[in-house]
Symmetry: C2
Subunit: 359 residues, 2 copies
C-alpha cells in the first residue's frame, strides 16, 4: 500500500475531499495493515474508527495510531472480520455471538458502522479473495445508508501485442531441451530411464511458462483494440456468490493493422462515489489500466494466446471468459478463455480455448 | 537431487560399489522423491525396496519404477515415516498399530529392514529436520546389524574472508536510507508520521541483511584458517534429542596474514561406511566443503561477523557455537555464535556475540 503513490493518492483524495462522510461518523477499516486508512479517517473527523487486522502487523498499526495522536479515536483490533465482535455497544456481546437479547433490543451486532473503508483489491481485482471479508463486515455491521470506500469496482479485458509470448515460448523450449539432455545423461551415467516423467514435466512447465498469468506494466500503445468490462460490482450489494464465479461474453474490436493478438490483458478500476443516499461530493477513481506514466504495484495481468493469431484493423475477437477460484487454494484463480476471431472480411476462424492460472 | 552430479555420484558409487549390502536384502528409502535411490537399490540386487514419500511426487516415483522394470521389487508408499506401516509381514497390522499379538510373536512392526537409504540432508546438514524421519524409520524397522546409507555425518565451521559482509552492509544502509526518505515523504504528502515504525523496520532489515545465513559456493582460497568439526553423528545411534540442539566449543587457528574475519562458514560431509558388523568394502564420501571445481546445490552457509575484525597468521578464534530449532518453525534453525579473538601477541579481545538465522 504505502509505496504505491497512485494508490495512496486515490485513497487520500477520496477521504479528504469527502469529509462529510467521515465527520462525526463511525468507520471500520477492514485489513488495516499499518493503519494508514484508519489514521486518515480519524484525521478527516471520524468519531470512532475500528481498524481490524488479522496479522501481527496490528501491533505496528497500534504504534502508528499512538504516534499520530489518534489513539482516542482509532481502536486496532487483531482478528479476522469473520470472528471479531465490535465493542461499540454492549460489551457483553463479545462473549455471546449472536446475543439474542441485544439483537432483540437492537443494541448491538448490527447497525454500528457508517463507513467501511478497505484496500482489499488483489491482482485482477479478485485474487486473494479478500473482498469476502469486506462483504462479511458490511453484512454484519454497516448501517442502512452507510457508505463503502471504494463503492464500485470493474474488471477489464483488452487485446494486446507483446513480446512476452515469444519470450516465454523460448524459455519453455529451453526448459524442455534441458530436460531431454537430462533424461539422456541419467540413462547414460546412472542407468535410470527418466522418460516416463517427460509428459508430466512438459505439462508442468507448459503451465508455468505459457498458462500462468503474467504480471506486467503495459504501455498504452500495446493495446491493439477496445477494452471491455467483464465484471461490474456495486460494493454495497455484491455477494460472495456473485464474485466466486465471474462469467462474461465480450467482443473486442481490433483497431491496429498487421499485428498479432499476443495476449489478452486484464486490469481493474475502483471508484469512490459514496452511495445513492449519501453521494460523494467529489468522485475519485483508482485506475490500474496501462498508463504511460508508470502504473501501480498491481500492474496488469497478461494472459498469453499461444500461438498468437495475426489480426488486422476491423477484425473483432469474441471472447467467452470465466474465472473461478482454484480448488486447491481459494485465494488463487483459474480462468477459461475461449476466443473466436471474426475477420473484417466476414470469415470466422474456429474457436480457441485456453486455461490460464492466476497464481 | 537429480541435477547435482556430486550428490548423484556419491550415492551411485555408495550403492554399486557395495552390492553385498543390497543383494537379496530388504531396503527402505526414506523420502524417495522421484524414486532414484529405490531404483538403484533394486538394480543392485535388493529383494524388496520400500520407497516412502510424503508428497504427491510418490505418483512420479511409481511411474519411474514401472518404466525401469523394477515394479516387482520397489513398492512406493505415500505417507510419512511416522504414520505408515510397512506391509512386509502381517498385513493385518496395517490396522493395529502396534499390534500386540504380532509383537508378542515377533511377526511384524520391527525387524523388517536390512538397509535404510535416504537423502535427508538440508542446508548445513540439519535444516529441514528431515533426519527425524530417518531416526523414526530406523528405530521402528531396522534389523539389528542393519546398515544406514549414509552411515555418518559431520558439521564443519571455518573462518573465511568474503566481500559479502560489505555488500550486505551497504544493502542494509540503502534500505534504511530509503525508509527514512519514505518517512519524510509520508509526513509531507499524506500527513502521517511513520517514524514510530523505524525501530521495527531497522530490526527486521538488520536480521534480513546481516543476521541471516547466506547461501554461497565459496572458493577454497577464501578459507583463512583451519576448519573444525562442531558435530559428529553416527546415523545408526543418533537421537532426535541429540540433534535438536547442537553445541560446540572450537578453536579456529588463522593461517593468513593481514586479512579480516568476514564470516564463519558452515558445511557438512556424510560418509557411507556401512556398520561395524557389516562394513562397506569401498567407503564413499559426499563432501560439501568449498571446492574449486564447483560444488553442490547445498553450497556452504555464510554467517557474517559485522563488524569484521582484522586478523593475522598465528591468531586464533575461540568459538562458542549453538544451533537450535526455531520456535516458530522447527525446520529452520537459530544460531548463537560467540567468538573471542586471541592474537598471536597474546592479547585477547573481548567476546563478540551474534545471532544468526538459518531460514
Amino acid at each position: 500500500m504505502l509505496c504505491d503513490r497512485v494508490r495512496m493518492d486515490a485513497y487520500h483524495s477520496a477521504v479528504f475531499r469527502n469529509p462529510h462522510h467521515f465527520r462525526g461518523k463511525v468507520v471500520l477499516d477492514v485489513g488495516t495493515g499499518s493503519g494508514i486508512l484508519a489514521i486518515w479517517s480519524a484525521q478527516a473527523g471520524a468519531r470512532k474508527v475500528y481498524a481490524v487486522e488479522a496479522t501481527n502487523v496490528a501491533e505496528h498499526a497500534r504504534e502508528l495510531v499512538r504516534a499520530n495522536g489518534v489513539a482516542d479515536i482509532v481502536e486496532v483490533i487483531q482478528g479476522t472480520m469473520e470472528d471479531i465482535v465490535l465493542p461499540e455497544k454492549g460489551e457483553s456481546c463479545r462473549f455471546l455471538n449472536p446475543c439474542y437479547i441485544c439483537s432483540f433490543l437492537n443494541r448491538c451486532q448490527t447497525f454500528e458502522i457508517d463507513v467501511i473503508i478497505s484496500e482489499w483489491m488483489g491482482y485482477y481485482l479478485l485474487r486473494e479473495s479478500m473482498f469476502d471479508s469486506v462483504i462479511c463486515a458490511r453484512d454484519r455491521w454497516l448501517n442502512p445508508g452507510g457508505v463503502m470506500y471504494p463503492s464500485h469496482a470493474r474488471m477489464w479485458l483488452a487485446p494486446i501485442r507483446s513480446g512476452l509470448g515469444d519470450k516465454k515460448m523460448e524459455d519453455f523450449e529451453i526448459a524442455m531441451n534441458d530436460w531431454n539432455h537430462f533424461v539422456e545423461d541419467t540413462q547414460a551415467y546412472y542407468g535410470v530411464n527418466m522418460n516416463a516423467l517427460t509428459k508430466a514435466y512438459r505439462a508442468e512447465h507448459e503451465k508455468f511458462y505459457l498458462k500462468s498469468s503474467i504480471w506486467n506494466n503495459l504501455h498504452p500503445n500495446q493495446l491493439i483494440g477496445q477494452p471491455a468490462v467483464v465484471k461490474e460490482m456495486d460494493c454495497l450489494t455484491a455477494t460472495v456468490e456473485e464474485i466466486r464465479e465471474v462469467r462474461a461474453q465480450v467482443t473486442l474490436p481490433i483497431n491496429q493493422d498487421r499485428t498479432r493478438l499476443a495476449a489478452l490483458a486484464g486490469w481493474f478500476d475502483v471508484h469512490f462515489r459514496g452511495s445513492k443516499q449519501n453521494p460523494a461530493v467529489e468522485e475519485v477513481e483508482l485506475n490500474t489500466a496501462p498508463d504511460e506514466n508508470g502504473g501501480t504495484h498491481w500492474g496488469q495481468q497478461v494472459f498469453l494466446m499461444t500461438p498468437a493469431p495475426r489480426v488486422n484493423e476491423g477484425d473483432s475477437i469474441n471472447v467467452s471468459f470465466s474465472m473461478v477460484r482454484s480448488k486447491e487454494n481459494h485465494r488463487l484463480m483459474d480462468m477459461d478463455i475461449t476466443y473466436e476471431l471474426h475477420e473484417a472480411s466476414g470469415r470466422k476462424l474456429p474457436a480457441v480455448a485456453t486455461k490460464i492460472f492466476l497464481e
